[in-house]
């Protein structure tokens, strides 16, 4: 019976050989958490400040986050010899349900805290967002290792780049018009 499954088994084995060797770069989670925390803290400050300086700080936060994300994804691709759009979506868009809730919840708390000048709470919210997103990516990575074909797909780099530009322009427009 087993020999009849050989073509599929051999194919699964080849896929397993590839995915078993995949590794997240060293320091992936702390770096991602830091990038998200900086972005959330900067966004909270910028939105609450409602000044040109605030816009600049918020956009700088986005730039830092995108720089960290791009660096992490480049390192992943460099050490593994593969590109996985699902991972890119998790990192850039916090695409998992838990990561999204953690990010949006922490951002909301951070903004409210910034309007009240409670900067310690802004810092706590920013760290919570970073940790939540990093844990979300870890969770996705675990699921991906378990069933790579089901989790490999995601937004392409081109789509992510367009979304990043739209997010920056939207952020700037909101802050300027507000």
């Amino acid at each position: 019976m087993e020999s009849r499954r050989d073509p599929l088994t051999a194919a699964d084995d080849a896929r397993r050989r590839l995915t078993a060797g995949l590794r997240l770069p060293t320091g992936f989670s702390p770096a991602l958490a830091t990038g998200v925390a900086v972005q959330v803290g900067a966004a909270a400050y910028g939105i609450a400040a409602q000044t040109a300086t605030g816009v600049a700080v918020a956009l700088a936060g986005v730039a830092v986050f995108l720089g960290v994300a791009a660096l992490l994804l480049h390192r992943f691709s460099r050490i593994n010899g593969v590109r996985v759009d699902g991972l890119a979506s998790q990192v850039v868009l916090a695409a998992g349900a838990r990561a999204s809730v953690a990010y949006l919840g922490a951002l909301a708390v951070g903004i409210v805290a910034a309007f009240g000048s409670r900067w310690w709470l802004v810092a706590v919210a920013a760290v919570a967002a970073g940790v939540g997103c990093a844990l979300g990516v870890r969770r996705w990575w675990h699921d991906y290792r378990h069933d790579p074909a089901a989790h490999a797909r995601g937004a392409s780099p081109r789509v992510l780049a367009v979304l990043a530009v739209v997010a920056c322009l939207g952020c700037a427009a909101l802050l300027v018009l507000g």
Binding site: A10, A11, A14, L18, N80, G81, V82, R83, A152, R153
Partner: protein, 95 residues
Amino acid sequence: MAGLDPLIHAPTRLQLVTTLSAVSEAEFATVRAALDVSDSVLSKHVSALVEAGYLHSRKGVHAGRRTTWIGLTPAGRKALHEHVAALRRVIDAVE
């Protein structure tokens, strides 16, 4: 046999498209190592599947050297899905 795709029925080609289903793109040498085949064998299969529209390939850089990146197209992913389903039906019928 209905549903079986002759383009990916050969064991090495089935391994190639199955392996690529786990990623969006993979560098040529990485795939070669996973499949344990020679450059020329892999190159021949990649060319055939690119021509069939099942794979896409592009020139790029990896670890400072020029290389080829390959990945499944939506048509290739669909073909793999249908071929594996057909193969399982055949196996179940035999058993």
